[in-house]
Assembly symmetry: C2
Homo-oligomer: 156 residues x 2
DNA sequence: TTAAAAACGGACGGATTTGGTCCGGTTTCA
DNA sequence: TGAAACCGGACCAAATCCGTCCGTTTTTAA
């Protein structure tokens, strides 16, 4: 099972939620409540997404976050990249984020890159709008999560 | 960065290595030495791959492992599946391995499945033979890893 | 002008996962 | 019969994850 960060999972959920009300300013408090993701976590999430330019922050009272672009123009690939760095199936972990300093020893890498590009293409073709579902479908009990339920999303 | 298990990384390296000598019986000791992956780890790896049927074990003296099929007929997708379970970009973590028991709340899942299938297709089209490189390309110093070097493979 | 609302940034720490080790057992060959 | 090799599972240290908790800054509205 190729794991996605849980944070990334949340991000897709929360962003999709924002996409249902494209132009409104959403506070983290509201987003947290609606998605059942803990507030400080949503906050941390949004900060990262803002830095990546996927959402725009508006500070001060009556502030919050707005999608920088329509949901239909934000791909899942972008969300993943924003939170986890470049999309790549890799186990390269020690330093060397974008460049392998023993690349000569690492001839397999070129082959992986081919695979990675294929995966990126697949992810780039799915937008947040594609992932959006109506609230009625999302939640059995509108406005109230089932007691003891886990945060919404793709979590089982 | 979508992480692959490091074990899976090793597996691709080791299996590719076996592919260069398709019919020989490879001992874990030899594979470990050639790949610079610690022996007990190679051992653990091979056990899992054997269970999945990708390699066949031969016990007893002069035993070892053999590829069950030619390298050109083993896809990277199969290796991943053998070690990490079904290929899926997912954060579903709590129990519920193959079936989400709150699937009704989890409407997004269907959309993810579409993505997952695309990724699986990409991975299924790359075989171990595609990943194989000649030993000369793999190692600058044949038979000897650079001192302090990390295990070979795609590790940086 | 002041108070409240909201984002910002970063440090911290507990729980989980990972991956590496070890060891006694079993099978096969010479 | 002994050595070589796989088998299987318990175990533990290290790394990672993710959620929390500060104090700070910015903006709006009373």
């Amino acid at each position: 099972m190729i794991r996605l960060n849980r944070l990334t999972d949340y991000a897709v959920v929360v962003l999709s939620q924002m996409g249902r009300d494209q132009d409104r300013v959403h506070t983290t408090a509201r987003l947290a409540e609606d998605s059942a993701v803990p507030l400080p976590t949503v906050s941390k999430l949004m900060k990262q997404l803002a830095r990546a330019g996927l959402v725009t922050s508006r500070r001060g009272a009556a502030g919050g976050y707005v999608l920088s672009r329509p949901a239909a123009q934000i791909s899942v690939a972008e969300v993943i990249t924003a939170l986890e760095g470049p999309i790549a199936l890799t186990a390269c972990v020690d330093g060397a984020v974008d460049h392998c300093d023993v690349e000569a020893l690492c001839a397999m890498r070129g082959n992986w890159n081919k695979v990675n590009r294929a995966i990126e293409t697949a992810l780039a073709s799915v937008t947040l709008a594609d992932m959006t579902v109506s609230p009625a479908e999302m939640f059995a009990l509108p406005g109230r999560r089932p007691p003891g339920g886990k945060p919404a999303g793709m979590l089982s």
